[in-house]
């Protein structure tokens, strides 16, 4: 089973008990008027997430149990690869990513394999402080040096990938905490994927509040350093370039 039009973009939305916001977010993405297909990865939700997403017009991939964002995303990438999508983008189901920015982030793929929609990049008013800020700055600094380009927000969940990056992700995309952001990104860079960032504004989340608890922030700092260290020592993947593979097959 393949899609007929390879210029279509798959918007992957990992959702775990997001019934309140997922419907609006899906409708918003579909109403932008661009060739987007929405795939909601229902990550073992116990509420009506799947039904709400389906009613809103999304394709729903239901995981039998909760795997975390990393697990949900890899399932989405696998689906995208099976159907032959050449461009995918991850968008949060809680509505903090503005669907009107999707095409801006996708535009970054013209000269890179991975394009990150970044907060802090002199646009919008998102701000953090304390240990969480240090963690984000440290991660940004180390990963920028690796990628040889300025990245300000490496933990952003607003990320686009092309066919080459999808193949890399399928080889290494951990389901662990921060595996979907730091670990996968670092290994992708080390395996030869080019990364770029596009400044975007984040909207306030439709539900829940970001934590400002200093203890939690300190734990976050520790875990991100831990994740970063592992990612830096991991084995590189050998990515099969879809373009090259296609040429070889002919």
């Amino acid at each position: 089973m393949k899609i007929l039009d390879s210029t279509r973009v798959l918007v992957i939305m990992p959702a775990w008990n997001e019934a309140e916001s997922v419907g609006n977010t899906v409708r918003e993405v579909l109403s932008v008027g661009r060739p987007y297909d929405v795939l909601v990865v229902n990550d073992g939700s116990t509420d009506a997430t799947a039904a709400v997403a389906k009613d809103a017009g999304a394709t729903v991939l239901t995981l039998p149990f909760n795997l975390g964002v990393g697990g949900a995303m890899r399932a989405g990438f696998k689906y995208a690869q099976r159907l032959g999508y050449q461009r995918v983008i991850q968008v949060d189901a809680d509505g903090q990513h503005d669907p009107r920015n999707i095409h801006e982030v996708l535009a970054g793929l013209e000269h890179a394999d991975i394009s990150i929609g970044a907060r802090f990049a002199d646009r919008g008013d998102y701000s953090v402080s304390g240990p969480r800020k240090w963690a984000m700055q440290l991660l940004a600094k180390v990963i920028s040096a690796l990628a040889k380009t300025r990245l300000t927000d490496v933990t952003s969940g607003f990320r686009a990938a092309n066919g080459r990056a999808i193949n890399q992700y399928l080889d290494h995309y951990p389901a662990e905490y921060l595996g979907d952001t730091i670990d996968s990104l670092v290994v992708a860079i080390r395996s030869g994927c080019r990364v770029t960032q596009v400044p975007v504004e984040m909207r306030p989340r439709q539900g829940g509040t970001p934590s400002h608890n200093p203890v939690k922030s300190a734990v976050y700092l520790g875990r991100s350093v831990f994740a970063l260290m592992f990612a830096l020592t991991r084995k590189r993947s050998t990515i099969s370039d879809p373009a090259l593979a296609a040429k070889g097959a002919v």
């Binding site: 795997l67 697990g71 890899r74 399932a75």
Partner: protein, 124 residues
């Protein structure tokens, strides 16, 4: 002569492992290790002087300390092995979950195209 309580304990362990293996409750690769441990304990319980001789050879003053260090290292190894096996199984489960989710979505897509014909036995 040997230490009878220890000997019977070891015999019981070997018996349980053997029975679990026979009933297919335990895979061979795990059973081999436990049978090895059980038989080792049996031999030591039957001939406790063996431990003293080995302890003298390797330069351990107290024979029981030799027994402890061997047991600790062995248990550590077992724990590590189980963690590793568990990680492998979790990874396999994750892959299966992905496959099941993708297949389910595709099957539902197909039966929707067929106008809800034979694939859905429950009619609205």
């Amino acid at each position: 002569m040997g230490n009878w309580p220890a000997f019977f304990l070891a015999l019981a362990i070997v018996g349980v492992v053997f029975e679990m293996l026979r009933r297919k409750k335990l895979r061979e690769k795990y059973a081999a290790l436990w049978l090895f441990v059980g038989i080792g304990t049996l031999v030591l319980a039957a001939f406790p002087s063996l431990l003293t001789i080995v302890a003298e050879r390797v330069g351990v003053q107290l024979p029981s300390n030799l027994l402890f260090i061997i047991s600790i290292l062995l248990l550590l190894g077992v724990c590590l092995h189980l963690s590793w096996e568990l990680s492998v199984v979790e990874d396999e489960t994750r892959t299966l979950a992905e496959e099941v989710a993708i297949l389910r979505t595709m099957v539902e897509g197909m039966s929707a195209q067929d106008g809800d014909a034979p694939a859905t036995p429950t009619t609205k």
